[in-house]
């Protein structure tokens, strides 16, 4: 049964040092509140899979020393520019960067979703991405003639973590058209969700809401975190806090500035 946690920290208990953590990008719903709580807890050695890209979440975790391996298709601060801690960490070799491309990450997570060991995918051949991914095997398509195709092994995260508009007390989570969140939850062994609010009725009782609902069977823990994506946006709810992100980019340009940012915005929990 899904735990509706009183404290965010309780919901995050199953995200342990060294685990493979999967998260969506900001257009689907990033739990920044949980990300800050994990940093406060001092989480270490994460293998972060960001589907398919990341922005502040990866940069913050990297800067805080929480990430050993990052697997994603791109990290930047969007219109604000490069992600400073990501860039510095890759250049210094502080993290292992597994560069991917969006479609390959989707396919590998969908392989886990379907319980199959691998998924074939077009493209990829001749990209240097493949040179650094020996696990991407090229086979001859059994249904073609001299037709090489890449196989991608399934990615099965230990935990998926994201933010969504609402959940009910049975653990059903309304994700709307952000189906990436369903792929993550289906593929991962466990799923932790923060939500803007609890919906008092069962989301599955209304056929219109049910169409956008991830069933609680996939969801291990839910915690309420109003504006939990801040300073990123949540689609149809609030936009990104661009001024804050610009401040972040400025501070995070140096290790000292980043430490100051952590002190001001992460080390102390926001007032509810």
């Amino acid at each position: 049964m899904t735990v509706i946690a009183e404290r965010l920290e309780d919901a995050l208990a199953r995200i342990s040092d060294g685990c493979m953590l999967a998260a969506p990008n900001e257009s689907a719903g990033v739990s920044m509140e949980a990300t800050r709580a994990l940093i406060r807890r001092g989480i270490r050695r994460l293998h972060l899979v960001a589907l398919p890209t990341s922005t502040l979440q990866a940069d913050l975790l990297i800067g805080a020393g929480a990430i050993a391996t990052l697997e994603t298709s791109a990290v930047s601060l969007g219109e604000i520019g490069l992600a400073p801690r990501f860039t510095a960490a890759v250049k210094s070799g502080a993290i292992v960067m597994k560069d991917a491309t969006c479609a390959a990450l989707y396919a590998a997570l969908q392989a886990a979703e379907k319980g199959i060991p691998f998924m074939p995918l077009r493209g990829l051949i001749g990209s240097d991405l493949a040179r650094y991914r020996p696990e991407w095997r090229v086979i001859d398509n059994p249904y073609g003639h001299d037709d090489p195709i890449v196989l991608l092994p399934a990615i099965k995260p230990d935990v998926a973590l994201f933010h969504a508009p609402m959940a009910d007390r049975a653990g059903n989570v309304w994700i709307g058209r952000e189906r990436d969140l369903a792929i993550l939850a289906h593929a991962a062994k466990a799923t932790v969700v923060t939500v803007e609010r609890l919906h008092e009725a069962n989301l599955l009782d209304d056929p219109v809401l049910a169409a956008g609902t991830l069933p609680g069977v996939y969801v291990d823990a839910v915690a309420v975190a109003p504006r939990g994506a801040w300073p990123l946006g949540l689609p149809d709810h609030y936009t990104a806090d661009m001024a804050h992100l610009a401040d972040y980019a400025r501070l995070a340009a140096t290790a000292e500035g980043f430490a100051r940012y952590l002190g001001e915005h992460v080390d102390v929990k926001r007032a509810a």
Binding site: P24, N25, S27, A28, L51, P52, T53, T72, S73, A74, V75, S76, G78, E79, L82, A83, F86, T87, V90, K91, S92, G93, M97, D99, A100, T101, C102, A103, A104, Y106, Q110, L121, R122, G123, L124, I125, G126, S127, D128, L129, Y132, D146, D147, P148, I149, R177, E178, R179, D180, L181, A182, I183, P235, D236
Partner: protein, 250 residues
């Protein structure tokens, strides 16, 4: 700025060039951080009376996908996405693009955000329009340091898609897949062939006389400014303020 230069900005010219490149197709998709391609796609839709359908991935209003981020890639894999736009930190003369790094990828001297969707979409979208406003020997190089996605593939590799053109701040190149070379199609007003040769790091084909890129028509400018600009401003307020002098408090 020459006094003969018509009254439009560089962004308007580039969007007009890209809109013409889109042609008569069913579906155009535009990725994140692509304000000029977004302007071009919306312009093409407006001029076509609703055709092509346009999906701006960064927009809520102009993104019709409902199956999450995976849908663009599935849709392209199905052969339904006719046009996509890609850029590159580096682009070379064989249309290889680099969005990853310079130097050893495990200890690069320069690191870019990453390959995004390029290593898939470049293969399966029939018309990929490359764009890079900065036209310099830093961006247009003899050979990219890292191939995020190759411009061409061996004959036995499944590849219904690939680059058709490269739009820069100085000119328009077409790309000939068979020859694996760019061809200079037209030079934007105010720029010269000598300047392009000086700032391009790769060799390219051209006619003896290279055309001047046509200026946007009065009607195109009107549609762009009256109809498209407010739509673009919702997604890219800073860009729209600069390109169209509208919206955006900042």
């Amino acid at each position: 700025m020459s006094s003969a230069r018509p009254e439009y900005g560089e962004e308007e010219l580039l969007a007009s060039v890209m809109a013409d490149l889109i042609g008569d197709v069913r579906l155009v998709a535009v990725g994140a951080a692509s304000p000029i391609p977004a302007t071009a796609a919306l312009l093409a839709r407006e001029r076509g009376g609703g055709r092509p359908r346009v999906s701006l991935l960064q927009s809520r209003k102009h993104n019709f996908f409902t199956d999450g981020g995976v849908e663009l890639f599935d849709c392209a894999g199905q052969g339904r996405v006719d046009v996509f736009f890609l850029s590159g930190a580096q682009i070379d003369g064989e249309a290889n693009i680099n969005l990853v790094c310079i130097g050893d990828p495990s200890r690069p001297t320069v690191r870019f955000p990453g390959s995004f969707g390029s290593a898939y979409l470049y293969y399966v979208v029939p018309k990929v329009i490359l764009f890079r406003t900065e036209h310099s020997r830093r961006t247009l190089v003899p050979k990219v340091d890292f191939i995020s996605a190759p411009g061409t593939s061996p004959d036995n590799v499944y590849r219904p898609g690939g680059p058709v053109a490269l739009v820069t701040g100085r000119c328009l190149f077409s790309f000939e897949r068979r020859k694996r070379r760019f061809r200079l199609e037209s030079i934007h007003p105010g720029h010269t062939l000598a300047e392009i040769e000086e700032h391009t790091g790769f060799a390219f084909d051209r006619a003896d006389e290279v055309a001047v890129t046509p200026a946007p028509s009065a009607e195109t400018l009107r549609i762009m400014r009256e109809v498209v600009a407010p739509e673009v401003a919702e997604i890219y307020p800073h860009f729209a303020a600069k390109a169209f002098r509208i919206g955006a408090a900042a």
